[in-house]
Amino acid sequence: MSLIGEWKRKLQMQLRRGEFERDLGDEMHLHIELRREQQIARGLDAEAARASAMRRFGNTTRMQEKSRAAWGWNWLETLAQDAGYGVRAMLRTPTITVVALVSLALGIGANTAIFSFLDAVLLRSLPVKNPQQLVMLGEGDMAGITQSFASTGLYSYPFYRQFHSKNAVFSETAAIFSMTNHVHGFVDQHRDTELINVKMVSGTYFQTLGVGAQIGRVLDENDDSHDGDHPVAVISAGFWKRRLGGDPSALHHTLRLGEKIYNIVGVAPTEFFGTTVGEAPDAWVPLSMTDFMPPGWGGHKDNFSESLFILGRLKPGVTVAQATANVNVLFRQILRGFPDAKLTQENLALLARSHVPLESMERGLSVLRSDYSEPLKILMITVGLVLLIACANIGNLLLARSTVRARELALRQALGAHRVRIVRQLLTESLVLALAGGALGVGFAAVANRVLLRMISNGQDSIPLNVSLNLNLLAFTTAMTVLTALLFGTLPALRATRLDLSTSLKSGQSGTVTSGRVRAAKVLVIGQVAFSLVLMMAACLFLRTLNNLSRVDVGFNKENILRLDIDSSALGFKGADPRANALYHEIENRVSAMPGVGAASFSAFTFAEGSWNGWVTVPGMPIDRKIDVNHDVIGNSYFKVMQIPLVAGRTFGPEDTSSSQQVAIVGERMAKYLFPTGSPLGRTFMIGLPGDRNKPDQKLVVGVVKDVKFRDLEAPDLYIDYLPYSQSGWGFGDFEVRYTGNFGAVAREVQEAIHAINRNLPIANVTTMHAQVARSYTNRRIIAELSAFFGLVAMFLSCIGLYGLMSYMVTLRRGEIGVRMALGASRADVAWRVMREVSVWIVAGIAVGLPVTWEGERLAQRMLYGLSGIDLMSLAAAVGVLLIAGLVAGYLPARRASRIDPVVPLRYE
């Protein structure tokens, strides 16, 4: 309170400053007058009385200054003064200022942008209550449905139920379906289906997270108590605004998802996006509705249909170690207790070996994290180096400028200014520069963020990732800016104020005081070259990696294939519905017959779309659990569309029907493994293990095809087999079309053809196979493109540094050069001497940079592909580019040096 009053009075004094000054003066004058009169009254003569009064009063000017200091904000005034001075200094040298501002904006902006992604993906906590208390069972690194016994990553719903009631270490537990259900549904009676991302969660989900609803209520235990009879949904704030226009009566609306109509019972808080960073579900629906939710994963009541993540909130005082112990005891107890548990020798051994780790859920789950944590860290280092190089540049510019100001500063010091005061002023000027650069940088970052998000999303819908400006980020940027100012400002400030006053004052050239300054500048320039080498090398490595990836033989011809998704579950077909198969056939036939289309086929998967995988059994052979086979369910023309060569036997055809012999086609690698001797054709195997509940069918091998890349480009060849959808129904799918001609036209015609067959069939993700393959290494593309960009920026900045320093030195040495020329040195000699010096700097920089580069390549090894050891080609390219650019930068001052007229400088000596 009193502080506010104080500020108010201070402000008043500032506003009526003149009046206060006058008052003070009058007051002091009166005092001295009265004292003088008193002294005269005591018998002193007029002169002595005046002197005495003055002496007793003290130094009036000092008292006035002290009073003014009391009015406060003295430091602020000095700061404002210095800042104003800084602004004027910036305006006096516009070229330097523009170069400095642009490099700062770029440096700080790039750092801000990359950090905002790093923060969003890796650092930020979930916007829920006390997120640090949340843990999840298992690593959360897989998503899907598995039947494998003693899975420690995914759990069944019955397991969750028992775990929920029996555990002693969590105050709350919740289950989340590991996959998001992408459902074609609609609001109310709209009928125009749209893709709605549904997250199935236990009734305890919101309570466990401590998240309430902004409208209505969140899900509760009751919603999740009986199977199938609680069609309710909580919608996200985003969906509410987008689809319902933020209607306050949202609770009167319904969602049609599959067969059921769901009442909207609540709207989640605006900042809440669930528990997975980089996803934004539109609706949360209780797990009790699992069996009714398209695409019909089902398995809700199955003890061993494991598809859930389980998370819990630690009770206060319970350590993670205690919780882990309790969880593992329960894990074994619950699994063994299931009546349908197959407690074979093998399974028991598996159970004994298993261990459920508890992982922190503070920052949520994220698929982005595994793909982008390393690229983001590498990019963070990259932009950090770019900023350092920019700082070195500005430092050098300021050094050069401080030479120009040497006389001014020397004069001020001679007149009694403290060195600290001058350093403070110079640092304030740097800070002004840095703040201006930082402000520009934030603007730049806002643009860069959008570009980066688009790059990461890679042509698809923008990934819902909150990278907007926040407090965290502003704190980071501010810290960054201040640090930058200190980095580039300190050295010049100290250098500028440490000088031999008399020399500076005497000589306008100030030639003798610059040797230290030049040494400092040289160190900065060499450092710049070293860092540039590191960045150029990184850029070369990542570009080569990108090139290598784009040349990987995927095993199929990725050109001229259109692919799209249809969602047959939107028509109410579930699993192996014969009507679905008929529909697929009709679409395949209709599209195949279109002009410009070579072949068309459905498939469960193509490249990088996930997998259905598991063990297989060959009669008479031991089961090898290390062999995980990827199954694909395909149409008859699939190999023709993909141009996967048939090695032996036949492809699927009309003869393979639901009632005929179950057949399969296997990849070469699988053929070799399953049937090491003799032809695989005519042999049989089973998908799954002999003990499985659903007695697996014998599959007859009718063909062998070349292997293809399936999950990503880098995984070694996998075991793959193919089944016809006529025999192994697959409810929804990928549609691939081999086409010639214009993609856009074909894509439109194909969609029209499909809608001509069924108008209500939702089509999504229309793209080319080529793009789909490229998308699998988006993170590498981003790191390659950005590191190339920053490498060039770094090099450019370093060249400015080289150029600036060399020009400065040529100016300094005009006299020397003049003498040399007068003594007979040719222009070429002079130019050569300059070039030689530039080369020495560049080579020194490269020598310093090389070991760093090697260490850097070792660290980034996991992001590289097809490069081993030190990649000499990249190194040669980086060194070469740097040398050429550096020499070009040095050539201009060299030419200038060679054109010096010897008479001019000599005249001044």
């Binding site: 004292r35 008292m63 009391a70 009015w71």
Partner: protein
């Protein structure tokens, strides 16, 4: 070199400078006793009531008064002296009166402590 040009101490050797930090206390107390005074009167009062022992560098009253104005301990208004001159008169505010109590307490605490150090029981 610099050692040689050390400044000579001021020459009011028969009077003691007031202990640092007590100037506020003296001004506050003076105003509390006498009500409404201008700067010269304050200086005179401090000197006379200390039997001319305490010496205030008279000018230093003014920065102190300015600080006290800012803090809101005193109020100032222009008035006319007996000799019909314009002078700025200071009076204590409620905050200032409270402050005086606090300053006295603190002073006594410090003096008591010093006394204990000088004359151990």
């Amino acid at each position: 070199m610099s050692a040689l040009i050390r400044q000579k101490r001021d020459s009011f050797s028969d009077r003691d400078e007031i202990p640092p930090g007590t100037l506020y206390l003296l001004i506050l107390k003076t105003l509390a006793l006498r009500g409404r005074l201008h700067g010269y009167e304050i200086a005179e009062h401090i000197q006379s009531s200390s039997d001319d022992v305490l010496q205030v560098e008279e000018g230093s009253l003014y920065p102190a008064l300015q600080r006290m104005l800012i803090k809101g301990w005193v109020r100032a208004e222009w008035g006319v002296t007996v000799g019909n001159r314009r002078a700025r008169y200071y009076t204590l505010t409620t905050t200032g009166r409270k402050r005086l109590g606090a300053e006295i307490l603190q002073f006594e605490r410090v003096m008591g402590a010093i006394a204990r150090v000088l004359r151990p029981a």
